[in-house]
Amino acid sequence: MTLLGMRGIGKRFLGVRVLSGVDLDTAAGEVHAVVGENGAGKSTLMKILAGVHVPDEGTIEIDGRPVAFGHPLEAQRAGVAIIYQEFNLLPDRSVAENVFLGREPARRGLVDRAAMEAETRRLLDELGETSFGPRDAVRRLSVAQQQVVEIVKALSVDARIIVMDEPTASLAEHEVELLYTLVRRLQRRGLAVLYISHRLREVFDLAQRVTVLKDGARVTTVPTAEVGPDELVRLMVGRELRDYFPPRAAPGEIGEVRLSVRGGGNGRLRGIDLDLRAGEITGLAGLQGSGRTELVKALFGAEPFAEGRMEPRRPRSVRDGVAAGIGLVTEDRKAEGLALRQSVRDNALLVARATAGRQARGDVRALLERVRLSPPDPEQEVRYLSGGNQQKVVLAKWMTVGPAVLLLDEPTRGVDVGAKAAIHDLMRQLARDGTAILMISSELPELIGMSDRVVVMRDGRIAGELPAGSSEEAIMRLAASGEAT
């Protein structure tokens, strides 16, 4: 029987349609996977369910009764709990205090610690969790353990629908197995679990049904038993309009080695051998936790290599890296890329002002036109720009110093299609002008479309290298098992 029914859900942000007419239903005791590419609308749909966003269209029913959530608490009271990738826990408080935050059990007006801890203990036991107790400070727990705390928190509010957003994203391999056990226990208790994941293996291991979203709409909902991985991929990725990518580098366009590492290593990386050449775009693939971001940060000098040789030099700090002609476009542009309250001009010139002499500036407006910022207004505050325009400003920031090597970590994440094409063009143009580019992307079609070759990482090492135009399957196989085709 249906526990949750979402019908015709639609949502726009600032006039951009991100969801339209999405249906989703789930039953008690079901694990229901929700899959789709980045930007397909999974997170927005789940946030609507959790009361974080209010839908513009559509209805939500729980047990056949219509509900409307204006605040996360209302969703919580209706039995919906969401576990974000970023946990909502207080690191300095105990497990029990976190579980009961805002709902502390009281006896005669006083917090009943014993009851709080006993109930937490009971729920932990029920989940088979014995590695930590109710009194432990959350700060001392591993990511997997903190996830358990979030689940206990959900259970303690009598949640009947639990949304898990990429629950394995930060887990190590053996922790994923434990999570499986947990999810199955929740299922046996009669809860509905909405499981958002990019990892198809998990979808087939855990879910009974899977809903595929694409471009803000539902493609289909099918029992996992009736669909194969290839079919599912086709449903998610297959699009009428293939993305346009600029032509790859012709053989003659790839020039000398601009950066080379031999035996690079630090706490997270081992035995890195890599050459980046002028005119070439190298794609960097790997699963979550494989060390992709760590590698670009090491090359750049933000989290330097502790060992190994690097040419022209091994940067020991960001300034070293910049001096060696390396630039890094970080994954999280709001936290690490931009000073949001400053103008486009101030952001675009930040690297030049921090590291180069006066001669490095040039004409800001011309630069903004070159990165196709629209409109190219240098006085605008960056926080008012769209994601795509913000990313163009980050690129402009590095172009002022004309780096020999540009490292791009998810350069088109959260960027609209138009800006994405503009960024792709710009990357190719920079390469043609002699920049060596290393690009991380989680979107394999993009990685394959843009790269002149693909380097695959696994467990902090380079697992192998694939030529231009390799298939997604080949990359995945290398990333997941280390086996080349």
Binding site: F13, E86, D165, A339, Q342, L350, R353
Partner: protein
């Protein structure tokens, strides 16, 4: 410039109100007297601005001003010949105190509130330990000239204020200024762009120390030597900066607005005096106004947030 406008309007209104009651204010001499009185606080506010815009506090400036004045009086002890080297020494003391504040805050990761609070205790303790509890000695005539003398019709302190103000504006337009604001706005983004975040902040504290030294030199001449000369000035300076629309926490606001905030505060005092509100109630009015000013500034934010909901988690689908 947009954001400097409100405080300039408020300042203009206050100045007009003063002129209405006191026509002498419109004459050069009257206006210059006002600017002269305001100069020390304006300079101190400019120094405090550098620290605040980088995301920190400097609570030590009040006692640093006292230290400067007391040290000057004891070392000069009435001898004209000692004036110049003492002046140099005072500036050096200001720079050194700022340097210490900055290094302790950045290298030892002590919140600047605590660092400069500790510095405040240390400075006031140390200087009276040295002088034996009360200010001793006397300033020289040459020294006093800066605070009370004129060059032709223009007070020295006004000239010094103009020079300091121009320097502050130029600094904020320079690469250093832009790096400083970027650091206060997003430390991590600044660091990953190659900004030496710690060094930038230390320099802000040094500038604040220098401003306190200049303020001390002006106040020594203007107000004379006393153990209370710098008392509460740290809060006045912070008030002035915030009044100018500069956000505590860093990354927002201009140095012009901060200095205008200090002038506004002085204009407010002048006006209250003219209207016969006693010295004590000045504080009450000041308290109400600072809360009101900041509240009005803050209340615009929720309206903005309603239009642009924060997206804390995960990826954005909004282009």
């Amino acid at each position: 410039m947009k954001r400097t406008l409100p405080i300039l309007v408020v300042l203009a209104v206050l100045l007009a109100a003063i002129a209405l009651v006191n026509p002498f204010f419109l004459e050069p001499a009257g206006f210059l007297a006002f600017v002269k009185r305001a100069a020390p606080l304006v300079i101190l506010a400019a120094g405090q601005y550098f620290v605040i815009v980088s995301g920190e506090f400097d609570l030590s400036v009040g006692s640093l001003v006292t230290v400067e004045v007391v040290v000057a009086a004891r070392l000069i002890d009435g001898q004209e010949s000692a004036t110049w080297w003492v002046l140099l020494l005072l500036i050096a003391v200001g720079l050194l105190v700022g340097l210490l504040n900055g290094v302790v805050t950045t290298a030892l990761r002590v919140p600047s509130f605590i660092t400069t609070l500790g510095m405040m205790l240390i400075l006031s303790g140390a200087v009276f330990l040295w002088t034996g509890g009360a200010p001793r000695g006397a300033l020289s005539e040459a020294f006093r000239t800066f605070g009370r003398g004129n060059l032709g019709p223009v007070p020295w302190s006004v000239l010094i204020l103009l020079a300091a103000g121009a320097a502050a504006i130029l600094l904020m337009r320079s690469d250093f200024g832009r790096r400083l604001v970027a650091t206060g706005d997003n430390e991590r983004a600044a660091a990953l762009s190659g900004v030496r975040v710690a060094r930038t902040r230390i320099l802000a504290f040094v500038l604040s120390g220098a401003a306190a030294a200049i303020t001390g030199i002006l106040l020594g001449g203007f107000a004379g030597v006393s153990a209370q000369v710098g008392q509460g000035l740290e809060f006045s300076a912070i008030t002035a900066v915030v009044l100018g629309g500069v956000a505590l926490g860093g990354g927002r606001g201009s140095v012009v607005a901060a200095m205008a905030g200090a002038l506004t505060l002085e204009a407010l005092f002048t006006l209250l005096n003219l209207y016969g509100i006693s010295g004590a109630l000045e504080f009450t009015v000041q308290g109400v106004i600072i809360i009101a000013a900041v509240a009005v500034g803050a209340l615009r934010l929720p309206a903005w947030l309603a239009k642009h909901p924060p997206r804390k988690q995960g990826d954005t689908h909004v282009a």
